[in-house]
Structure formats: structure tokens, C-alpha cells
Amino acid sequence: MDRMIRRLPIVTGKGCALMGLFAACLLAGCQRTAPIPTNTLVIGQLAEPKSLDPQAATALNDFRIAANLYDGLVRFKNGTLEIEPALAESWEISGDGRTYQFSLRGGVRFHDGTPFDSDAVKFHFERILQPDHPFHDTGPFPLAFFFSSIKRVETPDARTVIFHLDEPFAPLLSNLASPSGFLVSPSAVKKFGRAFGRHPVGTGPFVFDGWESNRLVRLRRSADYWDGAAKLETLIFRPLTDENARLTELLAGGCDLVMEVPPDVVTFFRKEPHFEVLEAVGPHLWFLILNTREGPFRDPRMRHAVTLAINREALTRDLLQGTASVPTGPIPDAFAWATDPSLKPSPYDPEKARSLIREAGQEGATLTLYAAEGGSGMLAPREMATAIQADLAKVGLTVRIETFEWNTFLNRVNGGLLGRADMAQMAWMVNDPDTLPFLALRTEAWPEKGGFNSGYYSNPEVDRLLEEARSEPRQDARGDIYRRIQKIVIEDAPWVFVASWKQNAVATSRVHGLELQPSFLLLLKDAWKTPAAL
């Protein structure tokens, strides 16, 4: 019987036919998939965009697309956080810092043909700032407070706009250069209403060409861009929510560029000749808020001690695998114009930390650390909490970590650390040196007054300097003030300045002319590609 079965020519006819069909399908695919055309750049993004209305959006993921669709009155100069003209050719700031007059560029049109003029600018700011504006309901506009100091927009003629401020607010220019300051076509807002975020119209180097949910956003080149046409014809932004999918797509040739590659993999790509790792240190600060009102950290010696005891160099190099650098003080070093390059982060010195702790009489103290499970800009909060715990154990301090889900964490920390914790993790991403210290280091910003100064730091000199900086219209003079603030705050040590995140991206070696910006905006106007090697 066995012999008979062995003589069977085939097992079952139908099964084999189907297997054959499947094999044929496989073979049909057995050729290398076609490379992405040279005039098209495919970008692997982290998530599906929420809105391409730059005033409604808050996520970097959305801003990366918006930055190629829109322009603001001013913009950040390539590779810096300094301001240069964009849709405004020039501007004048009154001596009291309360009036900003902009001369607009002539002959610019929005992609739908609407002329760009002072009325468009007025429409734009009134839409987000005035609750009774007929198109205010196209919001909400979570970042409208960037411009809340603007009380009135005056338009003496088509190419002049005057902003009247209720108080001096020097960060206004940086805010105008941020995505929240990108100008939208008034006629498109009127036409699409709340759906404008899915039908964006700006003046930028690329024109919106389609959004297919969970698949892609496509932009095409604007032929008559005022600042010279872009080199690429088409941009395709793909939402690849899975980390591995982003990497495999890059390796398999389905993407030219992927954003925010995890640290482990950056090391791999650095060694690969066909790929290039791009990096830029951004205006980001990851810090530990210290409770200066109660407990061990009322004593400045203890605050300095933890700064010296945490090996920040090792933390950024090993744990974050070089995707962050050690910051100097409360103002991110990316603001080259507002920081002092001669200041260096304090060194790792556990010996000195131990003697400071001894002096303060706090040997063997137990500290509570609030840690987040994740969250915007928080890098690797749990791992970092454990590393900090281990470093502090080496100087005899016991750290008790309490971990919370991100929104719960924010609620607890923003409510103030009193009666809760000695330390809390926090991270901010800002677009002006003013933002973080003004909102989180002033006496007026204590939690009970509605601010973010959760550690209750208070220094009248810092309070005064921050107000002074706001009314200083000249950038270099403002920079000087921030350098003084930086020094005082480092001396007072209300926070431990742990890390400044570097944004990274990996591109194939076909991509050229691409530079990551400290503003973290992805500007693709000057990017271009070489044909695929066969």
C-alpha cells in the first residue's frame, strides 16, 4: 500500500492548481519595485496630520507639512533662530515696543489667486484673536495666545500693516516666524470654513494637491514662488505610525526621508554608506523642576549637588545615544543670539556633590521624583528617571519614582509640587528665549497664579530682567539681557538642565540640499534628488 501512495503523481488536483496560481502571483511580483522618481520626494512622517490650518495645528508633525505650504511675515534665517524678512520686506518697531509697522512684499498671490495684501494680514489675525469674528468658529486656535498682545491691526494702505500692542512684547517677531504666524488665504477660509484644515491655501513654495486619510498628503511645486521655485516637483508625506515600518520603508526604497529615527537605529544608519543622518539641536529643554519651597531643595547647595551628581554627559551619550546634548541653562542653546557660548554645562562631579550634601546636612535624604510615561518632547522619561535615580544613589540619596500617564502627569505637575514631590521631569519646546523663563521661572508664574513655575522659584532680579527683555525691540540688546538671566538662573539652580533634544532624520544618499533647522521646521524648497543607481 505504501508503495502505491508513493507513486501518487500529485496530491490533490485543486489544491495544486491554487498553489500554482499563488506562485504565479508571487512570480509576477518578482522584479525589484520601481524606484521613486527623481522629481518626487517621499517623506515618512510619524502620524496622520490633524489639520493643515497652521493656526489650528499644534503638532510638529503637521507643521512639517505646513512649512512648505505657507509663509509668514518673517521667517527664521536658514540654520538659525534669527529673524529675517519673508512676506514683509521690512519692519519698524516703535521706541516703546508697542507698535510694529510692516511693509509687505508686492505682487505675491495665494495659491488660489487671492492677492496677498494688508487686508489678508488683518483678516488672519482678527480671525484667531476676535471671538466675534465671523470666521473665528473655524478654530479652535490653541496657540492664538502667541499674538494676544496685538490689540488692533491697522491697514493704512494695501502694503502696510501696523500692529498696536497693549504691552511691549519683543517675542512677537519669533512668534510671527513660527507656524502659528503662517498666513492663510482669506478667500479659502471663507470658502471652506471649518474644513480649511483639509484644503489649505497659502503662499509657500508648494501647493496643496491632495490628502488621502492614513495614506498621504501630496504637494506640488508652485511655479511662480516669490522666492524662486522649488527644485522638486512633488512632495508626498506618508503617515507611517509604526517605527519599524518607517525604517523598513526607508531601507526598501519606499521613502526618501524619514523623520525622528529612534536612537538605536541612528547608530546603524551612521555606518551605512547609502544613507545620511541629518541632525539639528532644537529650542528644546528637558529639565528637572526642583521644589524650592519645601524639603531638601529649599537649600541651594542641595540643588547644585543634584546637578553635579547626575551624569548628564553619559545620559545623553549612552541612554539617549547621542540624540540630545547637555544644555547650559534655562534658555536652549539653539538660540545662539541669546546665549553665552563661553558658559559650559557644569561637570559631573559626585565628590563635590557629596560634600555639598554633607554641608547641607541632607545625607541619605529620600526624594520623590515625578516621572511621565511618555509625552511630547519627553524623550525616554522612564529610562531617564531610572538613570537619575541610579546616579543619585551613588551620592547617597534615595529617589522614589512615581510614574503617571502624560495628561495626569501634566495636571499634577502644573498644579505645583508642594506636598507632592521634590523633583519633576518636564520638557518644553519653544520658539523664543522669552517663552520658557517667562512662563515657568517668574514669581508671577507660580502655579497658584496660573503659571507653570511648579517649583516656586523666585528671584526679583530675574522677574525684572524678563519684563525688561520683553520691551527691548533691538535683538542684540535683548540677547544681552537673556545672557544675564541665564547666568543668574544657573547660579540659583531652580532646575537641573538635563538634555536638549536633537531632531534627526535619515535620508537616502539620493537626497541633496536638505538641512534640518533649529526651528524644527522641515523646509524642502531647496532639496533635490539624483536619479536612482541601477
Partner: protein, 312 residues
């Protein structure tokens, strides 16, 4: 038959009710406030309170459940707040790609599994049995997400035959078949392992039956004995297993869709969980769970129909 059908359908009512209870209350256990998740870190307390009352999140849980269930019976799944569109529309759009993927995977799994099982049984203890047996063992014990990565590494990155993710090319909207191959194969290979093992056992049992010996004694060709007499009887016993595998393939879509960024219901579900879009999670889980229940029901009915021994 009719009585059996009615009985089975009636039995579904408590099952579906149980599913709805589980889906609703499990979601309520997830920590975090959806209102905060929607409005983000810039939210004011006033806006939060207003949104909580708009979403009825400030009502007691049982009341929320009754409202939700009442709306469900009218086909109203609510509005997804992360996407700002009706949950029903979103599920409807995403169901197509999932059915395409799960359907293809199911056909592949059935064909591969049954064929492998028959081959093992026919050449029992011979080399085909050993080779197929080894592959089957690997298939059963390899986690699908790992298998998916291996397939991508080989076929997308090294050989470049198939795209690594997506459903259609972003350049020219083509290539459905090449995009479908790897995710469908991943799902199918794991599911096929179980099918092959059980089919082998079933087939061996049938081949030892008296009527097979009679058929051989009659001098029938071996192809006809195996392909006609034995196969038909062995397959009938496989139907409940295939029903379970159909459910497995549907559920497996959740992670395979994530790995391959397939625009289906599974990926929508994962994103919804990440953004705490509770209504969308509830809707998607409900649809997937109901799909699972109905597939099993279908398998039972089919077996009842095909196997005369089960009829009263």
C-alpha cells in the same frame, strides 16, 4: 435545520450583549481623561468642563452605557473626536481593506494548510511529512510580528520584490497585488500551521477507515481515493477549525496591519487606542468581535449542513 438556526441565532443575543458590556466597561477602565487628550496641554479648565459635558463624560458610567447602547441600536456609533467624523463612516471605510486582507489570508491559509496536511498524511513519516512538519512547527511557534519582519527583510529589503508597507503605491496608486502579498502571507502562514496539523491527523484517521480499504480493494486509483473519498470526509471535520482560523485571521489583522501600515480597521483601532478615541475603539472592537462571533456561527452552520451525521 431551521430550528437549529433559530436556536443558534437566539443564543447570539446574550453573547453580543456581553461583548457590548465588556467593550464599554474595559474602555472606561483606561486611565486618562479623553477631554484632556482632545484639547491637549493648552486646554483651560473651562473648556475641559464644557467638553466633558458635551461628550457626556460627566454622567455616571451606567447611564453612559445605556445611552451608547441605545444609539448603537439606531446604527449611531457616535463621532470620533480624534478624526472629527462619524465612527460609522470611519469603520465602513476601513472595513474594506481589512476584509480584503483577512479574506486573502484566509484563502491562502486554507489552501496551504489543507494541502500541507494532506501531503503529510499521504507520505506519513516520509520526507514530505518531515519537511512540511518542520515548516508547520515553525509557522505555529513564530510570532506573526516577527515573521512579518523576516518576510519584509527578505522580500522587501534584500530582494526588493514587494513593497514594505501600504496598500497602493503612493506614486501611481497601483500595485495592490504586490502590496497585499506579504501581509496576507504573514497572516496565512501562522494560521495555516494549525490547519495543516489537524488536517494531517484527520486525514490519517480517514485513510485507516474500512471504506478506504474497500475502495483500494475495488482497484480505484490512489488519486481518486485520496482526492475524492478521503478528502471530502476529512475536510468536513476541518470546518470548525477553519471557522476559528477565520476569526484568528481577522483578529490578527490588528497587528499585521500595524506592521505593514495597511489602512484597515486594525490599524484604525491601534491609532484610536493611542489617541484615547474611546468611541472609535469601542466601535472597532465591537465590529471585530461581532465578526469573530458570526464567522464561528457560520462555520457551525456550514458543518451542520455538510455533515449528515449531525442532523437530527
Amino acid at each position: 435545520m431551521m430550528r437549529y438556526l433559530i436556536g443558534r441565532l437566539l443564543a447570539l443575543v446574550p453573547v453580543l450583549f456581553g461583548i457590548s458590556l465588556l467593550v464599554f466597561f474595559l474602555m472606561a477602565l483606561i486611565p486618562g481623561d479623553p477631554a484632556e487628550a482632545i484639547l491637549g496641554s493648552y486646554a483651560t479648565e473651562e473648556n475641559l468642563t464644557k467638553l466633558r459635558s458635551d461628550l457626556a463624560l460627566d454622567r455616571p458610567l451606567p447611564e453612559q452605557y445605556v445611552t451608547w447602547l441605545g444609539n448603537l441600536t439606531r446604527g449611531d456609533f457616535g463621532t470620533s473626536y480624534s478624526l472629527n467624523r462619524l465612527v460609522r463612516d470611519e469603520i465602513f471605510d476601513r472595513l474594506g481593506p481589512t476584509l480584503l486582507l483577512a479574506g486573502t489570508a484566509f484563502i491562502l491559509c486554507t489552501v496551504l494548510g489543507l494541502a500541507a496536511g494532506v501531503a503529510c498524511a499521504v507520505w506519513q513519516n516520509g520526507w514530505p511529512d518531515r519537511v512540511v512538519g518542520l515548516i508547520v512547527l515553525l509557522g505555529i511557534s513564530t510570532p506573526s510580528f516577527w515573521l512579518a519582519l523576516l518576510l519584509v527583510a527578505l522580500f522587501s529589503i534584500t530582494l526588493g520584490w514587494f513593497p514594505a508597507s501600504g496598500m497602493l503605491s503612493v506614486i501611481d496608486n497601483g500595485g495592490l497585488l504586490t502590496h497585499l502579498t506579504l501581509p496576507a502571507l504573514t497572516l496565512a502562514l501562522v494560521a495555516a500551521g494549525v490547519v495543516a496539523r489537524l488536517m494531517r491527523t484527520n486525514m490519517l484517521e480517514v485513510l485507516r477507515q474500512d471504506y478506504i480499504r474497500t475502495a483500494r480493494a475495488k482497484g480505484l486509483r490512489e488519486t481518486r481515493i485520496v482526492g475524492h473519498h478521503a478528502l471530502r470526509n476529512a475536510i468536513t471535520g476541518m470546518i470548525p477549525v477553519l471557522g476559528i482560523q477565520a476569526g484568528f485571521v481577522l483578529g490578527g489583522a490588528v497587528y499585521v496591519e500595524t506592521v505593514f501600515q495597511w489602512p484597515g480597521l486594525g490599524r484604525a483601532l491601534v491609532t484610536a487606542i493611542q489617541t484615547r478615541d474611546i468611541l472609535l475603539v469601542q466601535g472597532a472592537v465591537l465590529v471585530l468581535a461581532c465578526g469573530y462571533v458570526f464567522l464561528n456561527l457560520l462555520a457551525d452552520l456550514l458543518q451542520h449542513l455538510l455533515d449528515p451525521r449531525l442532523r437530527p
